[in-house]
Amino acid sequence: MSDPTWLSIPELGRSLRDRRVSAVELAEHFLARLERLGPTYNAVVTVLRPQALAEARQRDVELARGKDRGPLHGIPYGAKDLLAADGAPTSWGAEPYRAQMLRRDATVVRKLREAGAVLCAKLAMVELAGGMGYNQAFASFTGPGRSPWDRARWSGGSSSGSGAAVSAGLVPFAIGSETWGSIQFPAAFCGVTGLRPTYGRVSRHGAMALSWTMDKLGPMARTAEDCGLVLAAIAGPDPADPSALDRPFAFPDRSAERKRYRLGMLKGTLEKTQPEVRRNFEESLRALRDFAAVEEGLELPAYPYDEMASIVIDAEAASAFESLIESGRITELTAPEDRIGGYAGQVVLAKDYIRALRVRRPASAALDALLAKVDAIVGPTLPTVAWPIDAAFDKVYPDYPGGASIGGAANLCGVPGLFLMNGTGESGLPTSLQITGRALGEGVLLAIGRRYQQRTNFHRLTPPGL
């Protein structure tokens, strides 16, 4: 077959079923890329060659016998190294856990195996998913995540390896996680499609906990369609995770398809963004208007979303990592600021945490009321292209902090977001479009994303030299 590196999941699936390629050949192809190119981007923690080839052989046997597990049958993938996978270390990106062996599979890993996908690698991430307050790209024992578009730029975090691996064609798709921005940033900086599902849509069992009430797991892939196929495999209830919702999700979701959609834009969303980001977003609006009406000037209900999210994360992370702090091994973290970033959380006042949980309730209702007025809210995913890898985050692009953003509110309130490359900006680096919707509205977001990607070709662009 032709080079499978940049093929979508359906394209790879057709090749497998037409016997133009075997699952073993696909696994070999992507394992070789992971081994050869993974270190270039500091994207990989562990390549699972023997396990992947064994799984791939089994998938080939099954297909030969007529057993087809569905769209992900035989498709290689990588998992952010906060997901437990039996037989491999699960490092959480952090030196103190580098050799940690969790002898079980996360529910997501189990579900993907049942769907036929082949786990090829555990992928790099920012240590402890960024929960200690990192301020630089060099915040993982694997080194700073490097964007395949320019190794001198950050791949984003905390799902750094997931974004870079998909972007560089090391895997067709990957699983990332987001508590606050950790799929959004690498999707944007690496120019891939990322989906942050509704909180509870995907079981968190077996995933490192940073914030029990804000952590979400989701796919990163080439296209919205790919993300939908992966989400369909990993969504659903799980007795091991009480927060996992028993709400059906099928892809494609016919009920989400409309002749014309209603989109909204936050007032001021384009303020203080790089000119290229603004230009590309306006181009995106032109494509979206082919099948959607766009209402401008929406305003987020007035709640202190970012403040609530910070308090919730501080308090929950303080408990989640109390033993790390108690042990003193927090000093082994890579970024200097992370080594002391966990102490302040130890004295978050209980009444402040509880108040944040109480205010979140009316805030979520108010946000839902806004989102109910439209099918989705669109905006630039980020105000700039990928940041220079050696810059302190608080020093990068000071002229472009961005305008009104829905990110903090969306993460706090657990609503889904889809991120799609929508062009190139400064230095030829990717820019990205963000689509945010109501809780459990992934079907609508994915339908809009598919329509957008049918009209554009940015998801087909590949980093230079690859």
Partner: protein, 108 residues
């Protein structure tokens, strides 16, 4: 901390940038200088007092410069909490979690 001057570090963690989980511990961009009396008395004093709790537990492993950073982080967190107090809540406004005494679907 050895490779970063104390002041630079304090500025770094206090920044207001748009970043994934970056700066969430410190003063975010929407915050003006701390106002005293924002619902918790003087947050600067409270931050110092809470730093004392850290000092009691972990004083043997942290340096003064690090305590200074931690105090700054605590103060910023208190400032954030003060923002939340501006949202009116009644006694019946519950936190958004539900405790379930049932641990197995087969029980009961």
């Amino acid at each position: 901390m050895s490779d970063m001057k104390r002041r630079e570090f304090a500025e770094a963690i206090a920044f207001a940038g748009l970043a994934p989980l970056v700066g969430h511990r410190a003063g975010l961009m929407s915050f003006p200088a701390l106002e005293s009396g924002a619902g918790v008395g003087d947050p600067a004093s409270l931050a110092k007092a809470l730093t004392g709790a850290i000092r009691v537990q972990y004083g043997d492993r942290l340096r003064e410069a690090e305590f200074e950073v931690i105090t700054h982080q605590i103060q910023a967190a208190l400032e954030r909490a003060a923002k939340l107090r501006k949202v009116p809540l009644s006694n019946g406004d519950e936190p958004d979690f539900v405790f379930s005494p049932v641990r197995s679907p087969s029980v009961g």
